[in-house]
């Protein structure tokens, strides 16, 4: 049974049927899936959801699918860790990490959105799926397409990390890199989608794709014991996940799965690609595009499609946002790794670095609950930190060689604390 009503323009309200459409013909505004919340409210309960398999489809009534979805049987339902050691360093008792570094099968939050997009691509009868990507989406589309038996063609800007090229091609995807940045790739792909009619998950399937991002928020609420956090910090690139997490929290209230609870939603960008933060700090709705320049390549987007909606969600919630420089991003990646054993990609470092700034500024208080959103895995972006780690010691396989360096390793206590 479907709970989807139709597609509706977020700007002018014009309604459209459930088809591969993403732009309003009247005002160019984005189309969004609408639901019959009264029907959903009658159909779902905490108990029905809790009894389902640990994947993103446990919230299927609030996703734009009919019947039994085939894509992403192990995607979603990633850990929400109570970060006690990191929390102790920062003076917070209720600090949580939502850890999408271990999303199945491609280790980023993109496994969520692509599970929904591939399901819809099959529903609509497409045989080729495609995307414009900074890398994480590429690997997710390639892997999920392979399993669904669809052909995939992936577009990325030149210069993305090798793990993302190899990690897409290995699934049989045809990878095309574009001489330019992500915004150039995105423009070209909009023109290709228009001309060739392929299923671009983040262009003509975008209304469905973006709904998948809500599952990140649904899980946070369920894993906190059907409660909303006081604060959640999310990275912003194109602007998909942040407004969708806000929507997820509102929907859970709407259908009665959580009762009350105010949340503040905060935006994190890399200083080299921070058009949304600039607009937020200048108190304007006008987002001026920038040419991205940051090691956080997965969020190096200068012209964010949904930037306006990020601003709106942040402001509506009473949240804030900050940006992090490349050195701050690297420090935060190392801090998270050495305190919680989680290796984030630079987007995650950005999010944590910004959380630190919000704590230092008093916007997040010691007794409040805060979720830091880690959306991608550091093993895919080794280049970003390769020069920032302590180089290995190299010795012969002789005990006396080890004896010679033993003192320099320090005692157990010191090595536990490590270098900050």
């Amino acid at each position: 049974m479907s709970y989807v009503t139709n597609l509706k323009c977020r700007e002018c309200g014009q309604e459209y049927p459930i088809k591969p459409l993403h732009v309003c013909e009247d005002c160019f505004g984005p189309l969004e899936v609408t639901y019959d919340y009264a029907k959903i409210r009658a159909a779902v309960s905490r108990a029905t959801i809790a009894a389902r398999p640990h994947n993103l489809w446990r919230y299927r009534e609030l996703l734009p699918v009919d019947g039994e979805p085939e894509a992403g049987p192990f995607s979603g339902f990633t850990p929400l860790l109570h970060a006690r050691r990191l929390g102790a360093e920062l003076g917070l008792k209720k600090l949580y990490i939502k850890d999408d570094t271990v999303n199945h099968p491609t280790l980023s939050y993109k496994d969520r959105v692509v599970s929904v997009a591939i399901t819809k691509a099959r529903d609509f009868g497409f045989t080729t799926v495609s995307c414009a990507s900074t890398g994480n989406l590429a690997t997710a589309v390639a892997a999920h397409a392979a399993r669904a038996g669809l052909r995939s063609v992936i577009f990325m800007p030149e210069g993305v990390e090798s793990g993302k090229i190899v990690g897409s091609s290995i699934y049989g995807a045809r990878v095309i890199t574009i001489r330019g940045n992500y915004d150039d790739v995105n423009r070209l792909c909009s023109e290709i989608a228009d001309k060739y009619g392929w299923a671009f998950v983040n262009i003509n399937l975008r209304p469905y794709y973006t709904e998948g991002a809500k599952t990140f928020g649904f899980e946070v609420a369920e894993q906190l014991g059907w409660k909303l956090p006081n604060h959640i910090v999310l990275p912003t690139a194109g602007g998909t996940i942040l407004p969708k997490v806000a929507k997820a929290f509102k929907e859970f209230k709407e259908v009665g799965l959580v009762h009350g609870g105010e949340f503040k939603i905060h935006c994190a960008q890399a200083a080299g690609a921070a058009p949304v933060i600039h607009a937020l700090h200048k108190n304007t709705d006008l987002i001026t595009p920038v040419k991205p320049d940051t090691i956080a390549k997965s969020i190096a987007i200068g012209n964010p499609a949904d930037g306006f909606y990020v601003l709106r969600a942040v402001r509506e919630s009473g949240g804030w946002g900050e940006m992090a420089t490349d050195p701050e991003i690297i420090d935060a990646i190392k801090l998270l790794a050495r305190t919680e054993g989680i290796f984030a990609e630079p987007a995650g470092g950005t999010t944590l670095a910004v959380a630190l700034k919000l704590i230092a500024a008093g916007r997040i208080k010691a007794d409040e609950s805060v979720v830091v959103s880690i959306t991608g895995n550091g093993y895919k972006t080794l280049e970003a930190v390769a020069n920032s780690i302590e180089a290995p010691l190299v010795i012969e396989a002789r005990l006396k060689d080890f004896d010679a360096i033993y003192e320099s390793l320090g005692d157990g206590k010191r090595s536990l604390q490590g270098a900050a």
């Binding site: 700007e11 993403h22 732009v23 309003c24 013909e25 009247d26 005002c27 160019f28 505004g29 984005p30 993109k110 959105v113 414009a132 990507s133 900074t134 890398g135 994480n136 989406l137 992500y182 915004d183 150039d184 995105n186 423009r187 792909c189 909009s190 023109e191 989608a193 228009d194 001309k195 671009f200 983040n202 262009i203 975008r206 794709y209 973006t210 690139a237 194109g238 602007g239 998909t240 001026t288 595009p289 040419k291 997965s298 969020i299 987007i301 012209n303 964010p304 499609a305 949904d306 306006f308």
Partner: protein, 92 residues
């Protein structure tokens, strides 16, 4: 100054289904005015009440976003390519 203008699907109902049309003008704004004469209804889709580019429309002049140039006043030369692209796309 004749230029080529790529027209996205949502605007092709004004061009009789054609995806690339000719227009003329010294600036992007003048080209839009000329498009309106040739294909009535286009201007309102591209510009808001104040005559500024709508939030969800991107216009590229020879591949460059006009917001990195001189916005709607960006100068147009003979043979330039203009592409109108809906802004809503993408996501890493």
């Amino acid at each position: 100054m004749p230029v080529k203008v790529r027209v996205p699907t949502p605007l092709r109902r004004f061009t009789g289904g054609i995806d690339e049309v000719a227009a003329a003008g010294e600036s992007v704004r003048a080209v839009i005015e000329d498009l309106e004469k040739r294909h009535p209804g286009m201007r309102e889709r591209l510009l808001d009440d104040k005559g500024e580019l709508r939030r969800f429309v991107n216009i590229y002049l020879n591949g460059d976003d006009i917001r990195f140039l001189n916005q709607l006043n960006s100068q147009v030369k003979d043979g330039d390519d203009i592409s109108i692209v809906p802004a809503i796309a993408g996501g890493e």
